[in-house]
């Protein structure tokens, strides 16, 4: 392994980690308000499609990203209404979103582009180097010559950590996930916060999906999310429901993905599928080592009924 191989792996790690990180942050905001949303895979799928279509028609990746966010929010509002207002089971409803959103995405794609033998492609978002920092030898091009989405995502991690630990609004927000009744007696709008969490979750998961079609792959294919929504769920657990922890977990999964691709190229006569398994097997192994379901918001996944004692 020489220096260029290592640097290309680091570069790929950062690139691979961003979509998972965005989706994991979506789940973090959701679960901090007590909303377990396993529909991330579906939200990311619809976000990926919206991002692709709008980038294709307008030519602007930023419009694509915003469209992804909007699509994610729209779909997640179904989840929000059913789980917050109707007190439906979070897991079951997340599953329903996982069925609805990809079906919707593939339907819209067929209607818009036909059964397409021709390959639809978009131009990816360009990287912007940060002047000064990108000239640092070795590390500069790796960390400071990325697309703006990468910078924004990492900035969001910092914001999230500060928000949940250092701000009154963040503590209030967390209290909804820990003990909604107590939060309500302090005058916090529990239902409103839960809805807000679903808006944030939908937006971030949608952006995570849109990232795939605006910064990562030039085409939209069915199953482009390929389990990232579920890996993000694992990342939140592994990251112990904190911004920094989630970042580390996602970097780890990004590294697995990067290594996997690297190993596939230098295939040693081993069927390539074994390398493709690495991120999924790593998720299982890492969770098995980290263990414990006891951490995390106390009222996670529980319905909130105002009048109930």
């Amino acid at each position: 392994m020489n220096l260029s191989a290592i640097s290309s792996i680091i570069l790929a790690t950062v690139r691979m980690c961003v979509p998972v990180l965005l989706i994991a942050l979506a789940e973090l905001y959701s679960e901090r308000a007590g909303m377990v949303n396993i529909g991330l895979e579906g939200l990311a799928a619809i976000g990926a499609l919206a991002g692709f279509m709008l980038t294709y028609t307008t030519g602007s990746t930023w419009v694509g990203i915003l469209a992804g966010a909007a699509a994610g929010i729209l779909v997640n509002m179904i989840y929000a209404f059913a789980t917050v207002s109707l007190c439906a089971n979070h897991t079951v409803y997340g599953m329903a979103i996982n069925l609805l959103a990809p079906a919707l995405a593939s339907f819209i794609y067929r209607v818009a582009f036909g059964n397409g033998s021709s390959l639809m492609q978009v131009e990816l978002m360009r990287g912007i180097g940060i002047p000064g920092l990108k000239d640092i030898p070795f590390l500069g091009p790796l960390l400071f010559d990325q697309t703006p989405m990468v910078y924004l995502t990492f900035a969001l991690v910092i914001f999230t950590s500060v928000f949940f630990n250092r701000s009154k609004a963040g503590l209030n927000y967390k209290s909804v996930g820990e003990h909604p009744k107590a939060a309500a007696t302090l005058g916090i709008n529990v239902t409103g916060t839960k809805y807000l969490s679903c808006v944030i979750c939908g937006a971030l998961a949608g952006i995570g999906g849109a990232y795939l079609t605006t910064c990562y792959s030039t085409t939209y294919t069915e199953g482009i999310v390929s389990g990232r929504g579920f890996i993000a769920l694992a990342a939140v657990i592994f990251g112990r429901w904190t911004g920094g922890g989630v970042l580390l977990a996602c970097l780890f999964f990004g590294l697995c993905d990067a290594l996997q691709i690297r190993l596939q190229v230098s295939s040693l006569g081993v069927p390539y599928q074994f390398f493709q398994m690495i991120p999924y097997v790593a998720t299982v192994v890492v969770l098995a080592i980290a263990g414990s379901k006891k951490a995390g918001p106390k009222a996670n996944g529980k319905p909130y009924r105002k009048e109930e004692r």
Partner: protein
């Protein structure tokens, strides 16, 4: 009386959800410029129009019944097994390897394939179960991760290890191993009979035996069951083992009945579809089977609908997803205290009018 009312809502909610989903499906069709009535007619004609198409529908339903029962059984014990697809594929893959490597033929080969499928699916299903009871892990994430691993492992078999010359697929299973059709002229095979048999067995086990009762008790309230001295962990593990075995049997029988070879994309979506069907069927094995047949009909019909009216087949996926979106929300709605109050007011009024 109260029980009757509850089972009535349990029946009405899915039926209303299906109707509502079809109405929205019709609106989508109309938006695409197709005549929704013609499209719906083509859909039902394609699924049930002739004896042969009924056979095709039932054949399409067979694997779905297995994955739906797999999901249903695990949920009855309160664990979310989302790994039906992986267990199905591991069952099919193991069954294929067993008959391919041993060269077994005839009825003995069929039995070998089915048994290996059951064992492989069951063991694969045990992994999330073991990790749940020993490490307290979320069984949903683990079982989904194992789906991807199983799909990739099947890929190893058909692209590298047992490859049919130049195409990335395995050779077909021996002709003597293929399950025969039950009724000539209808495409469904003995796989369907096995599926129905498993469904009846599950129904008997869950509702008429003592372990079945305890298993449901664990599913309804794990803490209470633990205080009652039920071996909760053993029931959880058992539910994973059996639900995985059902999916594995499904994979093996579908391989011998319809698929014959391992190929790219095989089984894709079966697991989540099974989850949807089990939920719409209110986790009742018999209702789940009916729902599975219904959705198989929707898919078979969608193809003829596409030919007749140009509406893409994927509209049937949307209708299916909408049914679950509506039915789960509907069931939640009927459990809300506000709804109960509303129902009492309405029925109270009726009683007054009766007087």
């Amino acid at each position: 009386m109260e029980k009757l009312k509850r089972s009535l809502t349990g029946f009405l909610v899915p039926v209303l959800s299906i109707l509502l989903a079809f109405v929205i499906g019709a609106i989508i069709m109309a938006c695409l410029g197709a005549n929704p009535f013609a499209a719906m007619a083509a859909l039902f004609q394609g699924a049930f129009g002739t004896v042969a198409s009924v056979g095709t529908t039932l054949n399409r339903a067979s694997p779905l019944i297995f994955t739906a029962l797999c999901a249903c059984f695990a949920y009855k014990c309160g664990v979310f097994n989302l790994g039906g697809e992986g267990q199905f594929l591991i069952g099919a893959t193991a069954a294929f390897c067993a008959v391919h490597l041993s060269g077994a033929k005839g009825i003995g080969g069929i039995l070998l394939a089915l048994l290996v499928g059951i064992a492989a699916g069951g063991l694969w299903g045990m992994i999330p179960g073991i990790l749940k009871i020993t490490r307290g892990l979320n069984e949903m994430i683990i079982s989904i991760m194992l789906n991807y691993v199983a799909t990739l492992f099947m890929g190893v078999i058909y692209t590298s290890w047992i490859r049919d010359a130049n195409t990335p697929q395995t050779p077909s299973v021996d002709d003597t191993l293929k399950l025969s059709r039950v009724i000539p002229g209808m495409r469904f095979t003995w796989a369907l009979i096995i599926a129905l048999g498993v469904g009846l067995l599950l129904y008997y086990f869950l509702y008429w035996t003592s372990p079945g009762f305890k298993l449901r008790a664990v599913g309804l309230n794990m803490t209470a069951s633990r205080f009652n001295g039920f071996p909760v962990n053993r029931y959880i593990l058992m539910s994973f083992l059996i639900s995985g075995a059902i999916a594995g049997l499904g994979g093996a029988s579908d391989l011998l009945g319809t698929q014959f070879r391992l190929i790219n994309g095989y089984g894709s979506g079966y697991g989540f579809d099974g989850v949807a069907m089990a939920l719409i069927g209110q986790l009742h094995p018999i209702a789940t089977i009916i729902v599975a047949i219904f959705f198989a009909a929707l898919r078979v019909g969608a193809t003829s609908m596409q030919v007749a009216t140009g509406v893409p087949t994927s509209v049937s996926d949307i209708i299916q997803a909408l049914v679950i979106v509506f039915s789960v929300a509907g069931m939640a709605l009927t459990k809300l205290p506000e709804f109960e109050a509303f129902r009492l007011r309405v029925s109270g009024k009726k009683e007054k009018e009766g007087k």
